[in-house]
Symmetry: C2
Subunit: 405 residues, 2 copies
DNA sequence: AGGTATATGTTCCGCGTTTAGACAAAATCA
DNA sequence: TGATTTTGTCTAAACGCGGAACATATACCT
């Protein structure tokens, strides 16, 4: 039930049907590989002839390849299996965070090809651009075997202007209107895609191939770190809004009379559950207090360790954050009714401690019974959700549905 | 950039291209009528031959009709103008509210055909069903000239289970799991569509034909009445979520330590800006206080009248609500970044008084500069947004984009 | 070992739809 | 009256789905 915009629509041309079915076939191969032409025909509910033609087109374009002949299940000719061709081409994912910047090389399916490397994030945008370009080229040079690089995806903890390819505002980095894409593209010589890290994270989940992760396409990713990043997917599409700034649930208030948030407003969700907020609570001071930040010496990991070791004050600080996390999640559930919520960030290492608190806080404010049973999944740091999201920025467009009508 | 769901997709069949282009043509006629075949061909950027075939198909189906031959602008053959055929068929819109239930007959374009009739809403679901069916049949009988009725749309102030056609929960009506659709369909003998009133309102705006209202398809409607209804449109599509309960921004908190809300939680936005909240504030009592409700004798309209007459206490109560309204709108802007927000409800009659307060409150909490300049439009009660939304439930599906890929 | 059954993949033709262009009809202007 | 322009229709070609036949390849049965 989508309305056709009478001022911006796409007609079905002679090749549109083919384009649509080609993308469907490509996605089915991606989701079900290894898969044969006959399998495809059954999955798509078309004749084998049509599937065969679609496959030969994808083969010609080099998007898929024919692997070994598979074992037949019963009798009959054995199928030739098809795979997404991610040989000899790779993608670089970059995750810029306040403290460090991480780099990872993957194939087109998002499978990790090397180890995650990192360096301290320079505070200055130009310096970071220089250093990042140097590092990316270095990483690619040391992975000559994986073939040509299709693109570089960059996840940034801030709002991104897609048109300009610049970072509008990244509070934790202290950036305003920093153009990253064009300088990086020029320096590296490979297309660069930038996106907000919350949006990148939810994209990573949307495009994950693990069967248990493939949901109905209504997903939310909440990344709890220094700030609170949120990415939303509706109907299989990233929620961008008019200026690509949608998804900032971190600054929806829990209490407008609450503590001051880094954004200038008061009582934002972020001001209650970010790592900084939790640490501040532990040290018994206001988030906005001046003076040396506790993070430099004492991190959220340390706090979680103390809590696990039996420090009641640490546990209390974390439990408070857990409750506030749940209360905010309830707002997201009430507002968006997603089929699944993912939680990322350091707090996930304490998930076993806090899960009951989070879930009961969700139930406290959720309007419906099924809202309270919304799936909440934790994404551990080892899965590098931001890096995988950055990779998805590059790899996913090739698999996206064609724009029609 | 939508992901194709590998478990639920639609293949392009032989007739899919035609189906797509047919819908586009239909929408263009709807948006630009009167319009000629040649105009359509130009608008769609196709040959006149194709446009002609599409048009003849639409003519055969009776969806459009050929009107008078238009005047030629320059020289050359004069065009035959095409119109959406809404002669001899009508739609009934029903708006169920806590106090009264309203009925309106329109044509397929949503143009009002008669006067709005209403009756007091029976508290009991079965009684309402009986009475409503009787009234609808009566209204249709008195409008024999407008032709056959294509369907009845019903807007309900509560959550709707689309599959069952029932109202899951309507707090102001005190309903739980009341099946409306099937009994009404059986009694009236015409297809009945039910939807939440906030969602219906935003649909009315999405499908409005006034050129200045046709936006980018990222819309929010906030209906301020006894409760707070919100409907959201993203990319030209209603935001439903997994259980069709998305959009409940009314129960996102402004302050979790705030007054108790009718939903059971505390400090919901609704508990600050609903008419009941404003009245309670005026009378200096808690929203949750027991005792006789003030609404029965003294309404929000009375309060606004007193404010306009110079009652400082009334003005203060309204101003408070205005500020809270703006603070909540800021959350919606931060969360969804819509291109346009519509405000409905009795409070709109005081818009000239409160607009500056609302807008400054929005700016107070909005994260970006352009967020603060998000368009906010008032929809006066005379436009009957809920009734027009109810009508859109019936009329819009015929114009919706086909599901593809 | 040979025949039969079954599954895969290819090929061919029918038909619907877009694409391109020609043509008739209708109206204006010189 | 004839040239020009615009509208609307018509025909042929290209493209892609729909359906079925055919060749290939493997397993099972006798």
């Amino acid at each position: 039930m989508r309305k056709i915009n009478p001022h911006d629509f796409k007609i079905a041309r002679r090749g549109t049907s083919r384009e649509i079915n080609r993308q469907i076939a490509l996605n089915l191969i991606r989701a079900h590989q290894p898969v044969s032409r006959a399998d495809l025909a059954r999955l798509m509910n078309v004749r084998r002839g049509v599937a065969s033609l679609l496959v030969s087109e994808l083969l010609d374009e080099g998007l898929i390849f024919e692997g070994a002949v598979g074992e037949a299940v019963g009798r009959g000719r054995r199928p030739t299996f098809l795979y997404i061709d991610s040989r000899q081409r790779c993608v670089v994912g970059v995750d810029i965070r306040a403290s460090r910047t991480y780099i990872l090389v993957t194939d087109l399916m998002g499978r990790q090809l090397g180890t995650v490397s990192s360096f301290q994030t320079p505070k200055d945008g130009d310096l970071l651009t220089q250093e990042l370009a140097r590092r990316v080229k270095q990483v690619l040079a040391s992975h000559k075997d994986v073939g040509a690089c299709a693109g570089v995806g960059v996840a940034v903890p801030g709002m991104v202007d897609l048109g300009a390819g610049s970072v509008l505002h990244a509070p934790t980095l202290g950036w305003h209107n920093v153009n990253l894409r064009d300088p990086l593209t020029a320096l590296i010589g490979i297309p660069v895609h930038i996106e907000n890290s919350g949006k990148a994270c939810v994209l990573a989940q949307l495009w994950a191939t693990r069967a248990d992760v493939v949901g109905s396409g209504n997903l939310v990713f909440v990344s709890v770190s220094d700030g609170l990043g949120v990415g939303v997917v509706v109907n299989g599409e990233l929620l961008r809004g008019k200026h690509n700034t949608a998804g900032e649930f971190g600054h929806v208030p829990l209490n407008i009379d609450g503590p001051r948030c880094s954004c200038g407003a008061t009582g934002c969700w972020e001001a209650y559950v970010s790592n900084l907020a939790t640490l501040s609570r532990y040290f018994g001071r206001e988030l906005s207090d001046s003076g040396p930040k506790p993070t430099a010496t004492f991190t959220i990991e340390d706090l979680i360790a103390r809590a696990r070791a039996g420090d009641a004050k640490a546990m209390a600080a974390i439990n408070s954050s857990a409750r506030y996390l749940g209360l905010g999640l309830a707002s997201i559930i009430n507002a968006l009714d997603p089929s699944r919520i993912f939680i990322g960030g350091e707090i996930t290492t304490a998930w076993s401690l806090i899960e009951p608190i989070v879930r009961s806080a969700v139930k406290e404010r959720v309007l419906t019974e099924f809202g309270g049973s919304t799936e909440i999944h934790v994404v551990p740091a080892e899965e590098h959700p931001r890096l995988r999201g950055a990779v998805a920025l590059v790899a996913a467009p090739a698999f996206a549905a064609p724009m029609v009508a």
